[in-house]
């Protein structure tokens, strides 16, 4: 079992090329200010959706409250920068860490009691949790005035641009991929596949469900923290259950258990929503809801396993361990009972 030589280097070069291309398009004005805004949103959404991808896609824990972690991250980071940071980069780094930790801590506290629930019941519990967070954010100004409550938090600084977002997105993809291809990652996936069997095979299911939940919460928290430094304004409605459904749609449409699927769908989804705005024109903007709902139904009917259906492409694919001679070809992969 020899690993592909210098796989990491190849990936880094690949990422650099993609970055260079996008950057060139931005610098030459091919991607204007408006589309750059959308591109940045797509990257933030990707990171947030990767969080849910770990929890639902890989661990199989149905969560309808991912936006709550996203919101906790955004508000924590936003408040720190607004109150203390004022554009200072050290404070900014601290705010990002605090936002990520907020997502992690909150998901730990909520995960411990509710992760014993299964499928639909867990969905209801997380949905309830998400609604609670929205209500809290709407009324937060009564306790901490800086949070702004229902009016929203204003006066945030624009501190992250495309460069940082790209870096964080690539970093997040790496973290998720490396985690999934490790021993704890396999434990997490085995719970999705069959929790009873995993338990009977010596996997501490409570521990690994919590681990996946916290990791997913942390990633969404990070996405929120970045959001708070990209847009000047935070509103509780950006982190309500509709946003949770957005994340859920991305993960399901991309295909459960596929990082590639989540990333491609997250970016595609954000661009689709904005693209329709142009295609339809201002008069028909309300038809957007109809069009993407129809699209959703069509995709689920044609590909219930999602666009990528648990498959990965390129470096996200687990490294092969078989020697080529042993690798089953198409003709004998369904051979009868062996040995």
């Amino acid at each position: 079992m020899k690993r592909k030589y210098n796989q990491t280097l190849v990936i880094l070069i690949g990422a650099a090329v993609v970055y260079g291309l996008l950057k060139a398009l931005i610098l030459t004005g091919m991607i204007g200010d408006y589309w750059q805004l959308i591109l940045d949103e797509a990257l933030i959404t990707t990171i947030g959706a990767l969080g849910l991808s770990i929890i639902y896609g890989f661990n199989g824990q149905f969560s309808l409250g991912q936006a709550a972690f996203y919101g906790m991250g955004a508000y924590t980071a936003g408040a720190i920068t607004k109150a203390y940071g004022h554009g200072n980069w050290v404070w900014f780094a601290g705010a990002l860490i605090a936002g990520t930790l907020a997502g992690a801590v909150v998901s730990y506290l909520i995960g411990r009691p509710i992760l014993r629930l299964r499928s639909d019941y867990l969905g209801i519990a997380t949905l309830g949790f998400g609604i609670i967070v929205t209500v809290l954010l709407n009324n937060a100004d009564k306790v901490i005035p800086i949070l702004g409550g229902a009016i929203g938090m204003t006066g945030l600084r624009h501190m992250v641009g495309f460069d940082l977002l790209f870096l964080f997105t690539v970093g997040s993809i790496f973290v998720v991929r490396n985690f999934i291809q490790s021993s704890p990652g396999r434990a997490v996936v085995s719970i999705r596949e069959d929790e009873i069997a995993a338990d009977a095979m010596g996997i501490d299911t409570t521990r690994y469900k919590t681990m996946a939940f916290v990791l997913g919460g942390a990633l969404s928290g990070l996405a929120g923290a970045l959001y708070a430094h990209r847009y000047p304004y935070l509103n509780p409605s950006s982190f309500d259950w509709l946003q949770s459904v957005n994340f859920l749609l991305i993960v399901v449409l991309g295909g459960l258990g596929s990082i590639t699927g989540t990333v491609v769908t997250a970016i595609g989804w954000v661009f689709l929503l904005e693209g329709l705005r142009f295609v339809l024109g201002q008069q028909f903007i309300d038809f957007r809801g109809v069009i993407y709902a129809v699209l959703l139904v069509v995709v689920i009917l044609l590909r219930p396993q999602g666009l990528f259906g648990g498959k990965e492409i390129g470096f996200l694919r687990p490294p092969s361990v078989l020697k080529p001679a042993l690798r089953p070809g198409k003709e004998n992969s369904h051979a009868g009972i062996g040995g």
Binding site: T8, R186, V189, S190, M201, V321, P328
Partner: protein
Amino acid sequence: MPVLEVRGLSKDFGGLKAVNNFNLTLEEGEIVGLIGPNGAGKTTVFNLITGIFPVTSGEIRFLDRSILGLKPYKIAQLGIARTFQNIRLFKQCSVLDNVRTVFHPKIKYGLVDAILHTRRYHAEEERVTAMSMALLETMSLADRAEMQAMNLPYGDQRRLEIARALAGEPKVLLLDEPAAGMNPSEVGKLVELIRFIRNHFQVTILLIEHQMGVVMNVCERLEVLDFGETIAAGRPEEIRDNPKVLEAYLGKGVTVA
């Protein structure tokens, strides 16, 4: 010293006594069969031993240590592995990953190594993959290591489930109807496989089975359950002619010509 000792084990589901005062002693290296008609409580015994159900009363000792009240994963890590009647593989994972997952407690790297893919991660992964491939090799599954488990033919799925259980390096292996759904030639191979596993991996095997071809051939001792109670125990040839056993299987008043 017995490897596994079960004393006075009982389990009630509401008013139903699924298992009643069940006793069992497994000596090291034995192959013991647990038989009985449908609904006799055989699988419940497995679920009690592996901690999936809480015990109503009784005692289970593994290597002279009580395992009552331990969580299933703890019991598995101590060295009791099992397979399931209705195969429960990690279906969408590769054959290799099904086995590698179970080596999990023996991996010596933390979450940080996992996320950063450090040198220690690579070394450990290489070790675990080699161990898993060796195990798959012994179970004649190595050439299918990268197939999704659910795409394996039925017989291979059964074998993979046994391989997965063995990956935990158990002292005791509980097999729940390993021959279910197999044709006669596969059953013949299974009998050999079970003997091979006992000798090669030095495990003690307790198996539930309906196919008498397997039970009579491979088991050194049998334990017959009916309505949650042991009705007979002994060597296969003794059990075969035991009137109580015949009655449990065939009903009263049947004479066997």
